[in-house]
């Protein structure tokens, strides 16, 4: 049995506990230890990559222990092609955060580092949990540290932003909790086994109306997190007020918890409702793409601009997911990683100049390329990645999404494609106004060039942008079997049904202890439209 | 059902009628001399000596409440005595007697408490 997932998950927690005993004043020691711990976590996550078997669809490297046996809740972990890169993204971005905030966080460094370590652990937990309730616990656990990061180290209006962030997310996720309970009971009603293990719940048959209700309970929680168009209002506030590190994690990883949730839970749990309401979500996604881009265009504030560009880019991810085909979903997963890299880098860059000039207004800049050439290079690469320049990662992701969704939703895709053009407009305009043209402001004449820690933080991101852009197959290859399996479940093909029935067996082939319950191995239901389960009594 | 209650109803009606008639007679037949002395309250035919709303020492209430408390608790002895008479033989009788002793002891605790708290002192 391989404990690499648990090690990755608990390393940051252990580091946070050790940090409690550091004296408050030893700022460099605290930051150094935090960085070290996050790097160690990254190395551990490379172990996950190393142990990952390409070509296996189900969960791998699984671990399973009884947690609350009375309800069949297990401490069950596993990783597959969908979550693999997101875990690595998380462990990569956390050291980046520590590096970028090396010189900027003076207030309470100890609490800052602890908050980020706990957050990292919770985010890893979200991606590796293969028990629904364990997932929920981690999903909620990410909230408090982020709330404190925004609220303590944020800007002027931080308290409002922090509370808005917290309440928006918790309202959605509490409804999801009800959905989880209902789903588990429905499964119990069917099979007589109370379990929260995701793979076992995949086969649950639900009455149509129940499926629709549950679909919306889950989709709401994830749509708020993504955030999808009408629910996005917390995001600009949170981003503008959050410190740079908070923004990087928020945009880089936390938003992906929403898209990941769609892929992991909404699609396979509620295939009928997904098929029925995919159009609605695609419509919202496309509105979000165009709306986010248009609003970003007119933002005078750099950070808000990047924040709205996130709304637009995440719209692409949702579009890819609900187009429900292999190409688009693979593109969507890749785009989640891309967005993490490019937007993380953009927020980092915005943080760099904010730190020097204490303003984020575009109007206050101009001609910075002359004073900060190295910085300008990094910023422009990140920007081009975000725009989707061929040769960089953004292009691959967006191309795959658009190519895939064009097969199923051609008209929506055409509208969405304007988002790419708009992105080019607002981002290039941003670059032009900040970096080129004459230096109009006296203060911009001698701005300090980018520091070593910021370079070190940016280099891996840029390297990955190019790498994904040039050799996307290295990354896509690992997702393919998992996405295939997912689609088979969603489309309810015969192979998918067989897979639901045999899903545990397939997993156990990789050497885990998570034996499926006998009742799981029952034959698949012949007609999904039969109201087999009217819900629980 | 209704007819059994009819006499009661009639009696109530008569009571109301008698009362109203007597008051009305006094009103119509009697004279109306509203002088200041006529408006004054009086007690047992004697004019009152001073204000009828005056402060009374709170200890009166205290004593009254304590009296009622112990009085009512003593009243519990009667139902007990009835049962005790029926079952006063053997172990059961001893048990009932013990129960009442417990009750009395608890009362005594309260009594000692208020006594030592000087609730009876003036």
């Amino acid at each position: 049995m391989n404990y690499i997932l648990s090690i990755t998950l608990w390393l940051p927690v252990a580091a946070a506990v050790i940090l409690l005993f550091f004296p408050k004043t030893a700022a460099s020691a605290i930051k150094g230890f935090g960085l070290l711990a996050s790097l160690a976590t990254f190395v551990a996550s490379l172990g996950i990559l190393n142990g990952f078997h390409e070509g296996v669809a189900g969960l791998q490297l699984t671990e399973s222990l009884a947690w609350i046996p009375q309800w069949g809740i297990r401490y069950a972990l596993g990783v597959d092609g969908i979550s693999l890169w997101l875990i690595l993204l998380t462990t990569l971005l956390t050291p980046v955060v520590f590096l970028s905030s090396w010189n900027t966080i003076h207030k309470h460094p100890k609490e800052y580092v602890i908050a980020f370590l706990i957050m990292e652990a919770a985010m890893i937990g979200v991606f590796v949990a293969s028990d629904l309730l364990l997932f929920y616990v981690f999903f909620e656990l990410t909230l408090l540290p982020m709330y404190l990061v925004i609220g303590v180290w944020g800007g002027a209006n931080r308290i409002y932003a922090a509370i808005k962030f917290f309440l928006f997310t918790i309202a959605g996720s509490l409804l999801m909790l009800l959905g989880i309970i209902y789903l588990a009971f429905a499964h119990f009603h069917d099979t007589g086994v109370l379990t929260f293990t995701i793979t076992e719940l995949y086969g649950t048959t639900l009455a149509p109306h129940a499926q629709v209700l549950l679909f919306f309970a889950f989709a709401l929680a994830f749509a708020i997190k993504v955030p999808l168009f009408p629910l996005h209002t917390w995001l600009p506030d949170a981003h503008v007020e959050a410190p740079t590190g908070g923004s990087i994690i928020l945009a880089g990883v936390m938003l992906k918890m929403g898209t990941y949730g769609f892929l992991r839970f909404v699609l396979p749990f509620f295939p009928d409702a997904t098929a029925k309401y995919a159009g609605l979500l695609i419509a919202l996604a496309v509105i979000g793409i165009v709306y986010g881009a248009l609003v970003a265009w007119v933002q005078p504030d750099m950070k808000k601009l990047v924040a709205y560009s996130s709304v637009s880019h995440l719209g692409f991810c949702v579009l890819g997911i609900f187009a429900l085909n292999q190409t688009s979903i693979e593109g969507s997963i890749l785009q989640m990683v891309n967005h993490g890299l490019s937007t993380g880098a953009l927020f980092l860059c915005v943080g760099v100049i904010y730190e020097r000039r204490h303003t984020r207004l575009l109007a206050d800049y101009g001609g910075l390329a002359k004073t900060m050439p190295v910085f300008a290079t990094f910023f422009i690469i990140a920007m081009l990645s975000s725009v989707g320049l061929p040769g960089l990662n953004g292009f691959i992701g967006e191309f795959l999404i658009l190519a895939g969704s064009f097969q199923t939703w051609p008209r929506a895709t055409i509208v969405a494609a304007t988002g790419v053009i708009l992105a080019a407009i607002y981002l290039l305009w941003l670059i032009q106004r900040v970096f080129f043209g004459p230096i109009t402001k006296e203060e911009n004449k001698n701005v300090r060039e980018i520091a070593w820690n910021e370079v070190v933080a940016l280099v891996p991101l840029v390297v990955l942008m190019v790498w994904i852009g040039v050799r996307p197959n290295v990354f896509l290859r690992k997702m393919t079997p998992s996405v295939q399996q997912l689609l088979q479940i969603v489309h309810k093909t015969d192979a998918g049904k067989a897979m639901i029935a045999g899903v545990g067996r397939r997993v156990s082939g990789v050497g885990d202890q998570n034996r499926p319950h006998e009742a799981m191995l029952r034959p698949p239901t012949p007609d999904p439209r039969l109201p087999l389960s009217g819900g629980v009594r | 059902m209704t007819h059994t209650l009819l006499p009661v109803l009639i009696m109530m009606l008569i009571a109301v009628v008698v009362g109203v008639v007597m008051l009305a007679l006094a009103w119509f037949v009697g004279g109306h001399a509203r002088t200041a002395s006529k408006q004054e309250p009086y007690e047992s035919g004697v004019p009152s000596l001073d204000e009828n709303r005056k402060r009374v020492n709170v200890r009166f209430y205290q004593i009254a409440m304590l009296f009622i408390l112990f009085d009512i608790e003593a009243a519990f002895l009667y139902p007990w005595a009835v049962i005790y008479r029926e079952a006063s033989t053997g172990a059961q009788g001893m048990f009932l007697f013990g129960e009442m002793l417990v009750f009395i002891v608890l009362l005594a605790v309260g009594y000692v408490y208020v006594w030592k708290k000087k609730a009876f002192d003036f």
Binding site: P69, L141, L148, L167, L175, L178, L194 | Q92, G98
Partner: protein, 492 residues
Amino acid sequence: MNWNDMIYILPEVILTIGASAMLLVPVTGGRGAKLSAKWMMIILLAITAGALIYCSHAVENIDQSRQLQAMFALDGFSIFFKLLFIGAIAMLVMLSEDFLAEGKYSPWEYYSLLGFALCGMMFMASGVHLITIYIGLELLSLSSYILAGFYKSELKSTEAAMKYFILGAVSSAILLYGISLIYGVCGSLNLLDIAAAMSTIVTNDALMFGIMLLGAGLCFKIAAVPFHVWTPDVYEGAPTPIAAFLSTGSKAAAFAIFARIFYTGLHDFHLEWNYVLATISALSMIIGNLAAITQDNVKRMLGYSSIAHAGYVLLGVISLNALGLRGILMYSVVYVFANLGIWATVLMLRRHQYAGERVDDFEGLSRRSPLWAFAMVIFLLSLGGIPPTAGFIGKYFLFAAAVQAGFGWLAVIAVLMSAVSMFYYLRLVVAMYLREGVEAEFAITTPLRIVAGICLVVTLALGIVPSSLIDQAVLSSSHVAAHAALTPHAGR
């Protein structure tokens, strides 16, 4: 009935003797007055707990059916709650030390009243007969009235006691009227007899009226809307440790009788009362949480929050299934510990009688005392039902019970209101972490530290490894569940 039956009520007998003795110590003078009232009380509680555990083992060998002429049951359910009550009172004794150290009021009388209140609570937990339950409730209530007005010279405290007393007396009368109507129809006050009688009754207006009045009286005791108006005023006016007592121990006792009466006695009329209680529960959650948002006084905020929590617990009664019953047991534990922790933290901020009450007083607590600020966050998260705290487990039970019983809409209201409740709980977090506070005085005494520490450990431990508590709740509720003819499911 004979002397051998005394074994059932041995803990209560010991407690009564002890409390009576403590009442007499200060007035009789002598050597006793020099002893520490606090330690005497702790010793008394320890003996009571020991006796309770001894009795619970001893009665296993005695015929369970007689049980003091069906007045009093020493079953798993009651032992579970009694141990919880004793623990809560022991922690309250610790919390009260500062308040009594001011020396204006006699600690002996205070602890004696707490002892009598505990005795009432224990009778409530054990009562299987409406008279036992009523007497226990009255003993608890009368002690609470006096305790609420314990600051004799403070206007606020006296006002609180007066309001509490008058409304409490009215509700007791209503309760008694309901009990008498039920007796009139069913011919017995034993809950099992009532259940047996009800199973033969199709419909009866007097009985319905009786159940309604009984429910109203009980709702007053747990402070459910619309019988809640006394709560914020009393919490605000009463001495802080007493507010803590009213919101934890006293409330848990009311939850216990609520569960016992409805699960054992009235389950046959489930369809008649469940929608009424569901409405009350929904109103409690909505009004309690919404009203709490605007409160600047922490005690009032906790008062409204306790109204909302009464609404959550009612979910467990309404669902009338094994999950709901266990949920009530679990939630009582979780709620008592989280709440006591919060009250302990409030007391740490006490500078004089009514300090530590405003939300502003919490400003900058994270700087001055990081550990206790963190503990406070955990308690608040627990009340809000956020994992990985115990509150999540408790709420999970209740929500799951409601979903299972087909009260999905009520569960939706409950989760939405939980989200709302986070808003005002976060106000305290905002004050502690996000605002730089004035350097206010801050007194962490050892007893407060012990209480907050215990509550922190319990709240976190039950949130992370809840299995043992769940097992205990399953075991303890089995007796009551069997009476309610609930079919236990595997693993639930």
